[in-house]
Symmetry: D2
Subunit: 135 residues, 4 copies
């Protein structure tokens, strides 16, 4: 099983699975995912709910961190900041691309850009992941 398949399997029974997050590409520098804007992921006005953008991005940034963790270490998000810029309509697919801004021993910072099908930037999510080792 590839690392991508292992990660897909790991998140399937969790919140990303409920939302239908589809991991497309995983590397230590970059994680890409897709998500269909289902009606039950929407807010009023038939566009993707703000919380769904944030949960989608949180998943991609956490996956990126996991790929970079030293053996035995775990991670948790300590902070996440989002700017919302454009809507994504129900029935379309959004694409999220998370890239590492910082990969340190104690913290990692990932930024996710989420675009709609028209190629417009909908949201930018920047998150800090704490690296926890049992010492």
């Amino acid at each position: 099983m590839t690392e991508l398949d292992a990660l897909k399997k790991r998140i399937a029974p969790l919140f990303p699975g409920l939302m239908g997050v589809d991991l497309v590409e995983v590397s230590p520098e970059r994680v890409v995912g897709k998500m269909l804007v289902r009606p039950d992921l929407a807010t009023s006005g038939n566009t993707l709910h703000g919380g769904a953008y944030m949960a989608f991005a949180d998943t991609l940034g956490a996956v990126g961190t996991v790929v970079n963790l030293p053996p035995g270490a775990r991670t948790t998000t300590t902070d996440s900041s989002t700017k919302f810029m454009a809507p994504a309509a129900v029935g379309t697919t959004v694409t999220g691309e998370a890239t590492a801004l910082h990969r340190g021993r104690t913290t990692m910072v990932w930024q996710t850009l989420i675009h709609n099908e028209a190629g417009k930037l909908c949201a930018v999510v920047t998150q800090t992941q704490l690296v926890m080792t049992d010492r």
Copy 2:
């Protein structure tokens, strides 16, 4: 139908409904909700997924803004910032309390504190809502 019931009905078919967000109290100054930490809302380690905290809070802050909107106006979240501080285990219930920090003509700012069943503060979410009127 009370305003609380109307709002419950409005969010039921949307993302908050998928997550099981339960509105408990709604006023112009304060919105309270509860959410059961289901396994399909979790991340690795059987605790509530970071994205689920953010989506829960985004819902409460948006509901609070809606309650304050002048007739004909709409709202969208432009920004959301979250600090994560403690976990909430699967099978327990989290409580979110959103209060208005600012209710202006153009923007409103809501802050949501999410506590776990043990009364520990798990996450703080501060969000800006843009008030849009068709002029």
Copy 3:
């Protein structure tokens, strides 16, 4: 020399000194400071510059963390998020009150409310401080 005096002396030659930050009260749970809105702290329109609010709050939250540090530990801000809500005019004084939302072994979270002389809430700053020990 009291702890308050020691902290005042420590920040005087640094950026808070340049801005005229005046520490008023320091305890493990709460730090209060005042700052005169000088013309050289302003932005266009003769109101306090957004950056000055953030630097003022960053100072108070860091001082609060320092007061809580175990012997030999140091701290650095890893994240800071601010919402701006109202202006503060040149010639008036702003008051910042930082309270601890979380004081853990690895991170602390402080939130600073900044009010203007009229008692209006101008800005809310929430910041995460990493606690660093040499192990």
Copy 4:
């Protein structure tokens, strides 16, 4: 007088002037500035104060917005979020590059990357600017 010179002159008597922010390049898509890490801009440990990064970036993002404003409009920062990743030592110069992530009719979003002399990314600041027109 070029637009760059006009903007330099405009910010000189204000907070950016106190800090020694030097505008290097201004266009509707990108604003670049430099700042010497003076001792009176530092925090403990002789590195640039977190608040100075934020104030530096806030200046660049606001300048970028001003360049894009329609006639008669004004702007104010409504939100700013920063991740800190690496220090910048006293006596060195930091470079900030602000780029527009979104330039809408109501809001603009600018992101500033601040690098130290060694080319390391020290801080990322993402801010929302409200566009205000008197209608």
